[in-house]
């Protein structure tokens, strides 16, 4: 009895999730009348604006990941090693981006960093790009920090640091060649998740008026029928790939550790 009910619930749930995925895939193949074709995909891929915005967002994601790692790894390391009493405070700050809606923060950005202000970032395209990248680092902060901090928990930070210091390593060497390799799995999962978030992000890019992939998708959705669903399929595949890479990385980590023992 319970079993039948459980199966019913489970299958109904699966149908709910399968339908939109099936719907968008089917729709994206119907551009040519009467038969299935990849016309919508061909049309998207040859669209110069798609290429431009996609490249822009990929670049943004990579910049975000690099800045995020450079910011989060030393901070999490330092807090663990030297200031454990501040951990709740730092953790609280890193969770704030989940509390304050992104649209509110970016609203603050355009008021605080406009052309008449003390730091006129939005005055130039490069400055706005930098501001957007910082906004993305802010969005990724909760995931990045949590991943790295959890990774550090499995590592004996003080001992490793002392050992490295006694061998003559400076802080940069310790971070780059001792700490980072030890939390590489965590950093990589944080990085892939960041990539998935940044690549299709809409709100911040739209309000800062940058030529990113998210606003492009939204514009295309207003005046085309089939291409947007092809974009949705592509976006879904990217999300899936990022999540797949995360579990792949986690699995290799387990294997290498087991082999090392």
């Amino acid at each position: 009895m319970t079993r039948i009910a459980a199966w019913t619930i489970f299958l109904l749930g699966c149908i709910y999730f399968a339908l939109p995925l099936w719907g968008m895939t089917e729709f994206s193949l119907r551009m040519r009348r009467g038969e299935y074709s990849f016309d919508a995909y061909a049309s998207i891929l040859s669209n110069p604006e798609f290429q431009r915005t996609f490249l822009f967002s990929v670049t943004m994601a990579l910049v975000t990941i690099v800045v995020g790692v450079l910011l989060v790894v030393p901070t999490a390391f330092w807090v663990r090693l030297k200031m454990p009493e501040l951990r709740p405070f730092v953790e609280f700050v890193t969770l704030l981006p989940l509390v304050i809606p992104a649209i509110v923060v970016v609203f603050g950005y355009i008021r605080l960093y406009n052309t008449g202000s003390w730091l006129p970032l939005t005055g130039t395209a490069m400055g706005t790009n930098a501001l957007l990248a910082m906004g993305y680092v802010m969005l990724a902060l909760p995931y990045m920090y949590r991943a790295v901090d959890t990774g550090l928990r499995a590592v004996d930070v003080p001992t490793l640091t002392e050992a490295a210091q006694s061998l003559g390593a400076g802080w940069i060497t310790i971070l780059g060649r001792v700490i980072l390799p030890n939390v590489l799995t965590a950093v990589l999962s944080g990085a892939f998740l960041t990539f998935a978030i940044v690549i299709g992000e809409f709100t911040m890019a739209a309000i800062l008026n940058r030529p990113a992939f998210g606003p492009f998708m939204q514009r295309l959705g207003q005046d085309r029928a089939y291409e947007p669903t092809a974009l949705a399929v592509i976006a879904f595949v990217i999300t899936w790939a990022c999540m797949g890479l995360i579990s792949l990385v986690a699995r290799t980590q387990k294997h290498t550790r087991a082999a090392g023992r």
């Binding site: 749930g13 006694s166 998935a196």
Partner: protein
Amino acid sequence: MALTTEATRTAVSPPRLTTRLPLRWLGLLPFLLFATLFLLLPTLYIVVGAFRDGRGGWTIQNVLDLATPSIRSAYWLSIRISFWSALLGCLIGFLMAASVVLWGVPKRLRNPLLTFSGVASNFAGVPLAFAFIATLGPAGLLTLYLRTEFGINLRAYGWNLLSAWGLIVTYLFFQIPLMILIITPALDGLRREWREAAEVLGASGFQYWRMVALPILFPSILGTMALLFANAFGAVATAIALTGPSLNIAPILLYAQIRGDVLGNPHLGYALALGMIVITAAANAIYIVLRARAERWMR
């Protein structure tokens, strides 16, 4: 070379306390600077702006003006959409997780379910809206299929994807997976011994759930619901891509205000944003408090 000597020196004789204190803080400086410039100051600017008037004086008029009918109805609709999507997301997510963890759907399906949930909870925004338009929109796959094959006209039954309920059904696509991801560890934490103890004492399955399992899970469920509420409340991209500016909800109103001052008063815009912070902060506070309570049982 210089590094070596410096390292040996610190190892042999630690520097005096007076020079150490500020150096410790130096390591945290980049993070504090980043958080101040790109998170705290911008938010503070909005919060303070909500209490200023156009001439630079202090006022609470902006906050009071949020009670005007159009803004109040935008908040109210947002709250209702977030509430229902959180409630249904919790309920369905709980049932799906429990059917695999406890109720006999094969354990083999557990990992695929969790992996899929990880993907689906991150598949939000513009593409998600497209997927639902292609499926349940006016010319969507399911809409047309039901009409041609079964003669069911969804529109005649009052269905409209570009409405509050359309938004709720769409939000469920990331709300249910988020619930599954959070509640599965909690369900794993239900010990077999508790169930056995209850059965030995003569409890029925219903009594076990009502008096043992649900009270233990309750903080987790309620806390996750608060989190899902905040999640839906702050969602901008899905709503804009799905309904355009036609649906009057708080995030869309704020988006329109930022792009074109539709309210005709910048400071009222700040107050609108402040209201959103207050609501999501309250929901998150509930989540944090209940999560701490839930963790007592999860050792």
